[in-house]
């Protein structure tokens, strides 16, 4: 898609010239198109000015898309603990605020969820913070994730090294790649490495690939049963019940039924993600800090875009005045200006997105930087940019309507 943008942008000028040629050979073409031709030539004709204009718009779009994507990426990270497990329904304490705040449930919760109509399966999940002690003596805080051993539901989709099933072997654990990174890299931690969790042995049998999480605390996978051995004795260790709705039954209905029948909190994966995401926005500095940066980027970007285009028309005011003196109506001139605005706006949009994407691709490769360029963001930027083009074009149009074409005589 991005390639297409580039392509269209690059061929636009030539394409337009060749269409122009066709116009000139078919004399039946009427004026509407021909004045458009004058408008586009005015736009493209002064290459230097056009490139300046394009640079301004491209920069604005790039700035916004880049900042927005990083923000969105960060927000994706905040949901990583949920999306990494990728199950449709999360059941937990009704008062829960976000995924990392675990409120343990009674063990009976799993059966209670299973008994709800429309539930296909329900399994327990342990999730808790623990300290790992490496052979070097170093301590690291980790998130222990205990999956039900019979199904291993919630296991990562991709395994980088080893076999995930080996987690069923005695003392076996699986790390995610961030754990390897945080705990000292592959020379310190790899398949076969042995470390301690609460003075009990843990042996790495595989490395899995996960989405980086916001807190960047390493994830250690084990089975639910074994998790009970690792954690200090607590009355309740069931953190979540993961469930799936039966095919053909709407997931929202099942969630609602679980709530009413068990009195527990139940959420779809999306809702729980959103809840967590909102919690991060409101309760951490990220919402304010990053939000203001992005808002500023947005305002600055849009101001640049509007300003550049406005200057462009102001510089052309005399030319428009000459056209007006030669009998071009205000309507015709407005159309010309709008055509120019949207042409350069869309071109800048395409190139800007291209650059932002390349940036994102280069920096976020490997998942180390948050960068999520979503279509919603692209659409938002498009709408905003078109609005800015429209506004600055309108300002120019009003100025032009007030313009006394007599300036051309001076």
């Amino acid at each position: 898609m991005i390639g297409a943008y580039f392509f269209i942008t690059m061929i636009r000028y030539d394409c337009f010239s060749s269409i122009g040629l066709e116009f000139s050979t078919s004399s039946s073409r009427v004026g509407d198109h021909t004045v458009n031709y004058v408008a586009l030539k005015m736009l493209f004709g002064d290459r230097a000015k056009y490139l300046m204009l394009l640079c301004g718009l491209t920069f604005a779009v790039m700035l916004i898309v880049q900042q927005g994507s990083i923000f969105w990426g960060l927000m994706m990270w905040s949901q990583a603990s949920i999306t990494n497990l990728n199950v449709p329904i999360w059941v937990t304490d009704p008062g829960i605020a976000q995924v990392d705040e675990v409120k343990p449930l009674a063990d009976t919760a799993v059966d209670r969820v299973r008994s709800v109509d429309g539930v296909e399966w329900a399994v327990p999940l342990y999730k808790g913070l623990l300290r790992a002690r490496l052979a070097t003596g170093e301590y690291h805080q980790i998130t222990l994730t205990g999956l039900e051993s019979a199904t291993l539901i919630g296991r990562p989709a991709e395994v980088l090294e080893g076999r995930f099933e080996d987690i069923l072997q005695p003392d076996a654990v699986v790390l995610d790649q961030w754990a390897v990174e945080r705990m000292g890299g592959p020379t310190v931690v790899r398949v076969g490495t042995i470390f301690e969790l609460n003075d009990k042995l843990a042996r790495v049998v595989a490395i899995a690939k996960t989405q980086k999480s916001f807190t960047n605390i390493p994830v250690v996978y084990t089975t639910y049963e074994r998790a009970m051995r690792y954690v200090p004795h607590e009355r309740r260790i069931l953190s979540y019940v993961l469930a799936k709705h039966k095919d053909g039954v709407p997931v929202e209905d099942v969630v609602q039924r679980i709530r009413t029948q068990t009195g527990l909190g139940a959420f779809t994966q999306e809702d729980f993600g959103f809840k967590t995401y909102m919690w991060v926005l409101v309760n951490t500095g990220i919402g304010i800090n990053f939000g203001t940066t992005i808002l500023l980027g947005f305002i600055v970007g849009m101001a640049i875009a509007g300003q550049t285009f406005y200057l462009f028309t102001i510089e052309n005011l005399r030319q428009f005045g000459a056209l007006k003196a030669m009998g071009a109506s205000s309507f015709t001139l407005s159309r010309m200006i709008l055509l120019q605005a949207f042409t350069v706006g869309l071109t800048g949009y395409g190139i800007g997105i291209g650059f932002a994407t390349v940036f994102g691709f280069l920096t976020a490769r490997g998942g180390n930087l948050p960068f999520a360029e979503t279509w919603q963001l692209l659409l938002l930027v498009l709408v905003a940019l078109l609005a800015i083009c429209l506004v600055s074009a309108s300002v120019s149009i009003i100025k032009l309507a007030r313009l006394e074409p007599a300036i051309v005589f001076r």
């Binding site: 004399s27 009427v30 031709y37 030539k41 007006k324 030669m326 009998g327 109506s329 074409p405 007599a406």
Partner: protein
């Protein structure tokens, strides 16, 4: 050849125009009465800053006046709403400006074609007629040049071709020969006089250039905001 029984193409009465307001207000036109007849070339002379360009703008309907009436080809300009006035101007008038006001991004031929394009003439036809007109001003070999690659005089001739291309009935020229050398100036004036001589067209030319005075039929002198004198120019040797 111009007796005043011919119909007036332009009839201006009591034109007053001031700029600014309060203490800085200056009244440039202080009550102008002027008739321009079909079939004539009227010269407008006068001191620099005297208001010649201002008067042309008023006649063209691109500058609002404070007082007075202007009829062009029997149509009272002030009675026309702005958009109709614009269309009327596009259909009936042609302009040659003191500054050329060519569109820098368009070739000579495209520049000349602009008034036709505005009148919704198809592009191929507009360009064809533009080239014919460029040929008439001696620029047949420069039709595809951009203005920046033309000399000042050549640019002025492009501007003249543009003013003539839609065969306007009223041709308004602000110092059309200022940028031209003697021979080229003469050539252009011959062209303009030819336009002025057509029975249903007329030309008004502002000029300082005494070498072209003999192309005019009448000469009006604008001094201190008033037409102080209109004289018939003897046409020996040209008629």
């Amino acid at each position: 050849m111009n007796d005043n029984s011919q119909p007036a193409a332009v009839r201006a009465r009591g034109i007053v125009k001031s700029f600014g307001s309060g203490d800085t207000q200056i009244t440039v036109l202080k009550g102008i009465d002027l008739d321009i007849y079909l079939g004539e070339l009227l010269l407008l002379v006068g001191e620099s800053g005297g208001g010649k360009t201002t008067l042309l703008s008023a006649i063209a309907g691109i500058l609002d006046i404070n007082e007075g009436n202007i009829d062009v080809l029997g149509v009272p300009l002030s009675a026309l709403p702005a958009n109709k006035r614009t269309r009327f101007r596009g259909q009936t008038m042609g302009f040659i400006y003191q500054q050329f006001n060519l569109l820098p991004a368009l070739t000579a031929a495209e520049n000349v074609a602009v008034p036709l394009l505005i009148q919704k003439v198809g592009r191929a036809e507009a360009l064809r007629r533009a080239r014919v007109m460029l040929n008439r001003v001696g620029l047949a070999d420069r039709t595809e040049f951009l203005p920046k690659n033309l000399s000042g005089g050549q640019q002025q001739r492009v501007a003249i071709a543009r003013a003539l291309v839609n065969e306007p009935r009223l041709l308004i020229c602000d110092e059309p020969t200022a940028a031209l050398d003697g021979p080229n100036g003469q050539k252009i004036m011959e062209l303009l006089r030819e336009v002025g001589r057509s029975p249903d067209r007329c030309v008004i030319v502002v000029t300082h250039d005494s070498r072209i005075f003999h192309f005019g039929d009448r000469m009006a002198n604008l001094t201190d905001g008033r037409i102080v004198n209109i004289e018939q120019i003897s046409q020996e040797g040209t008629a």
